[in-house]
């Protein structure tokens, strides 16, 4: 007999206290785009597209290295991972596949100053075949100094 997906959630893991974290934002981060950083990123991805390799324009996904959290070595765990301070402590901790949903509004060029703000936008629970799962969503908005959207990225992560 297989476990049913719709087994009643008898003890919800997602408590009102946990849900109260929805809407939390981290400190906006403002960074400058340099030709050198574009070139380093482009080379490391193995791209063959000349305007990225020359640093004339940033490839899509350049917001990933630009806004990756830069923390002190004493803030890294033994496996080299930093703790995401935007997230509350979840009752499940084993991370499963994550999903990304990225929309590109404007190109990124050397000299651009960009500001990223991340918001914890959702937390919910589902019952999977092997037990409960917690889903959470974080939206990162990247804007230029004129306040215009450049990239929007929604990350969904599953914990079991």
């Amino acid at each position: 007999m297989s476990e049913s997906e719709d087994t009643a959630v008898d003890t919800p893991l997602v408590t009102p206290e946990l849900l109260a974290n929805i809407g939390r934002q981290d400190q906006p981060r403002r960074e400058v785009v340099t030709r050198r950083d574009i070139k380093k990123y482009a080379i490391s991805t193995g791209t063959t597209i000349p305007r990225y390799l020359s640093g004339d324009e940033a490839p899509p996904m350049f917001h990933v290295p630009l806004f990756w959290d830069v923390v002190g070595m004493d803030e890294l765990s033994a496996d080299g991972v930093s703790i995401d301070k935007l997230l509350p402590k979840f009752p499940l901790e084993k991370a499963m596949a994550g999903g990304l949903d990225i929309t590109y509004h404007k190109p990124i060029l050397p000299g651009d100053w960009l500001t990223a703000t991340r918001t914890l936008t959702d937390i919910y629970e589902k019952r999977g075949r092997s037990g409960p799962l917690i889903f959470y969503e974080v939206v990162m908005e990247v804007r230029d100094d004129a306040g215009e959207l450049v990239v929007t990225e929604k990350t969904t992560r599953i914990l079991r």
Partner: protein
């Protein structure tokens, strides 16, 4: 009837996106994760990845495979259109030395708006889809 074209070929549902096959190695994992400032040891510390974490080898960074999906679309589109939106999910792990295959096909075309939707993937030699994706493009606009 769609008269949209990419690279001189009509853009219709089922059109294959050429794609490429590629292998990642420890040097690329080091450089890519250094650029991110990601110190996660499973990407560049072989004894740690295999003996402590029990992986068969070094794990290819998930967002790098996401980047390869973008490369697949942009190499095909050239300057005839741009990638507007991508949704992808890292479902399975890839390891350095694995032969990985990036490709896709057109799943919807909207000639009135000059847009199309693509399904893309990163697969390994066993045929497992490690990274499924859906992409929206618009033609006639360069990035």
């Amino acid at each position: 009837m769609s008269d949209l074209q990419v690279a001189g070929n009509p853009l219709t549902v089922g059109t294959a996106i050429p794609g490429f096959s590629r292998t990642s190695d420890i040097i690329q994992q080091f450089l890519y994760n250094a650029v991110l400032y990601n110190a996660h040891r499973i990407h560049f510390d072989t004894p740690y990845a295999t003996e402590v974490e029990g992986y068969p080898g070094l794990v290819v960074a998930g967002p790098l495979l996401g980047d390869w999906l973008h490369q697949c679309v942009e190499l095909w589109l050239g300057d005839e259109g741009r990638l507007v939106r991508i949704q992808y999910s890292n479902r399975g792990a890839a390891y350095t030395g694995d032969q990985l295959h990036v490709g896709g096909e057109v799943t919807a075309v909207d000639p009135d708006h000059a847009t199309a939707t693509l399904t893309l993937w990163v697969k390994n030699d066993a045929g497992d889809t490690l990274v499924p994706a859906e992409v929206d493009i618009v033609l006639g606009e360069r990035r």
